[in-house]
């Protein structure tokens, strides 16, 4: 009896992507009369997310909305959840086990990665060294972005040479250190693609500090407040904004449906928008920028 109880487990507490997701989920939950709780680890890390999932599962909510931090490592705790008849909805990231997740809601990340490649190549005039900063390997979304990015470069931008991927563990400071080091090692670095919010924020900070404005171009996934400021400051040339709020809202919808025994949709793609200095102040684009809180 009683209201439907849903818990959202974020990939990282406090990151604007996930906070915006939580805002969307809360709004929808209110609308549907769902009791929503939000939890998340202090670091983007499966060994920290696992105990949280375990305790959430122990509290036995009706449904679990989760952004798993690793495609493999999170299978075991989620299997346990499934065995306890908790409906699982994957928001943003996924796990490799296809039987987990009644619904999977996310951006088309391969496409987003390719779009980033095009934008960056354009910015650097089609030639030069580019570096990719990501979170960790084994995170479905960012891995897909890298895939899309590299395929696009290989296929259509012969002048661009990739320096490969460096991993920031979704930590702003770490990302900034990586870019610092890269600048020291490759003074002729032309472009940076940062595959997610914290990687981009950190990379942008490093570029800003190094005084390399204009010299190194950057395209980043996500559109958190810090990133938008970097865009406006000219540190970053383009952002690819997802719709985390919508992902959260849709997640709650699907969870509610699953609990009520209604039809659920197995895969729901959400849109992505390219944000540039030119369009950032237009109302349509302003709508998709992430929020720090709701």
């Amino acid at each position: 009896g009683g209201a439907v109880r849903v818990t959202l487990v974020q990939g990282l507490a406090g990151e604007e992507f996930y906070e915006t997701m939580a805002c969307g989920a809360r709004a929808k939950a209110k609308e549907l009369g769902v009791e929503l709780e939000v939890q998340g680890p202090q670091k983007f890390d499966p060994t920290l997310q696992t105990p949280i999932v375990n305790s959430v599962v122990a509290a036995q909510p009706d449904a679990l909305l989760i952004a798993p931090t690793d495609v493999k490592a999170m299978i075991a705790p989620l299997t346990q959840a499934k065995q306890r008849n908790i409906k699982i909805i994957l928001v943003d990231t996924v796990v490799e086990d296809a039987s987990i997740g009644l619904s999977r809601i996310s951006t088309d990340n391969v496409k987003g990665g390719a779009a980033a490649a095009k934008a960056l190549s354009e910015q650097i005039g089609g030639k030069g060294k580019v570096l990719v900063i990501s979170t960790d390997p084994g995170v479905s979304t960012v891995d897909a972005r890298i895939k899309g990015f590299e395929e696009e470069i290989k296929a259509a931008h012969p002048g661009v040479s990739s320096l490969g991927v460096q991993y920031s563990h979704n930590d702003v400071g770490e990302a900034s250190k990586i870019v610092n080091a890269a600048l020291a090692k490759d003074p002729d670095l032309a472009g940076v693609f940062a595959t997610n919010l914290n990687s981009a924020t950190g990379a942008g900070t490093a570029l800003q500090q190094a005084g390399k404005l204009g010299q190194v171009k950057m395209v980043g996934f996500d559109a958190g407040p810090a990133q938008v400021k970097q865009l406006k400051d000219g540190v970053v040339q383009a952002l690819i904004a997802q719709l985390p709020g919508e992902i959260g809202a849709k997640g709650v919808e699907q969870a509610f449906a699953a609990v009520k025994g209604q039809q659920v949709t197995a895969a729901i793609p959400t849109d992505a928008t390219i944000v540039t200095r030119e369009n950032v102040d237009t109302p349509e684009v302003r709508k998709v920028l992430y929020k720090a809180g709701c």
Binding site: Q42, T47, L48, A73
Partner: protein
């Protein structure tokens, strides 16, 4: 280090843990105090327990080991690479344990014979082991062989995960060894007064090498078990392992100045933060509030322990 003294040392902080368990059980009987939850809690804490047990020995000698997280990761990487190259899980396990031991012995030799402060040595080897692990993997998490992750990682006996049995047994043996064997006695003696121990004929240098070696070996084993449990090497996940282990040891009544402490206390010290985290998560406390509340309750718990012990002594 009489039996009576030990149990008194652990008694009050144990009571605090019991109090916490009771409080959460009362607040959420249906979800907290279930075998499901408690088993998960124990199994999530089991690996930290190994690290903290090794740390107990080290801290009782008045040392410290910041390298455990790095050594754990290095060992997990060594195990994953070896298991992949040879196809043998056993060799993988051996690689983990031996590389852990190797790092530990390096720590021990530098501390005991180089006379370098343990904090610096193990901070250095933390960077070295983590850096080396990242070099071996290119900075990317390696995956455990499937048989390991699905085998040891999930296997249970009497409903309890193998991991828990292993960590529990090792902790029990080492707790007993610390309290009741010559090796343990010398550990206390060195931490209490290394010079007096040396004059009394205790081979302080060799003993310290062994103690750091033990801590390293346990970190190596922890790396293997963590690889089994989580299926990945976790190259970025263990940066606070050292502080967590040290905190557990200190919560359990071991003095950072050496000479005093018990493994039983450490076990309690591992579980107090674990229970707090788990309980607040089940209560649905928001993540940032959790940090605040866990911090405050931690202080309060140790305060209660100190007060009671002081009252008894006066």
């Amino acid at each position: 280090m009489s039996g009576r003294l030990l149990s008194a040392q652990v008694f009050w902080i144990g009571l605090v843990l019991v109090g916490l368990l009771a409080a959460f059980a009362l607040l959420r009987p249906a979800s907290f105090a279930t075998p499901f939850n408690l088993l998960n809690l124990v199994s999530d804490a089991a690996i930290l327990l190994l690290l903290a047990t090794g740390m107990t020995y080290v801290i009782i000698t008045a040392g410290i080991d910041l390298s455990v997280g790095g050594v754990l990761v290095f060992s997990a990487v060594a195990a994953a690479l070896t298991a992949e190259a040879t196809g043998s899980l056993l060799l993988g396990a051996a690689a983990a344990v031996l590389s852990g031991l190797g790092w530990g012995l390096l720590n021990g030799v530098l501390v005991a014979h180089g006379r370098i402060p343990a904090l610096i040595v193990t901070l250095g080897t933390l960077g070295m082991s983590l850096g080396a692990a990242l070099l071996l993997t290119g900075g990317v998490d390696l995956r455990a062989p499937g048989e390991l992750n699905l085998g040891l990682g999930l296997a249970r006996w009497l409903g309890v995960p193998h991991l828990v049995w292993i960590c529990g047994a090792i902790t029990a043996v080492l707790g007993f060894a610390l309290a009741r064997t010559r090796f343990g006695r010398h550990t206390y003696a060195i931490g209490s007064n290394a010079e007096a121990a040396r004059r009394a004929g205790v081979r302080v240098g060799r003993h310290l090498v062994t103690v750091y070696g033990l801590a390293g070996l346990l970190a190596g084993l922890a790396g293997y078990l963590s690889l089994a449990k989580y299926g990945i090497t976790g190259v970025s996940a263990h940066s606070t392992d050292n502080l967590q282990a040290i905190a557990a040891v200190v919560i359990g009544g071991t003095s950072l100045f050496g000479g005093v402490g018990t493994v039983a206390g450490t076990v309690i010290g591992v579980f107090i933060p674990a229970v707090l985290q788990n309980g607040f998560q089940i209560l649905g406390v928001r993540p940032f509030w959790q940090q605040v509340v866990v911090g405050a309750v931690l202080i309060a718990a140790v305060y209660a322990d100190q007060r009671q012990r002081a009252r008894r002594d006066q």
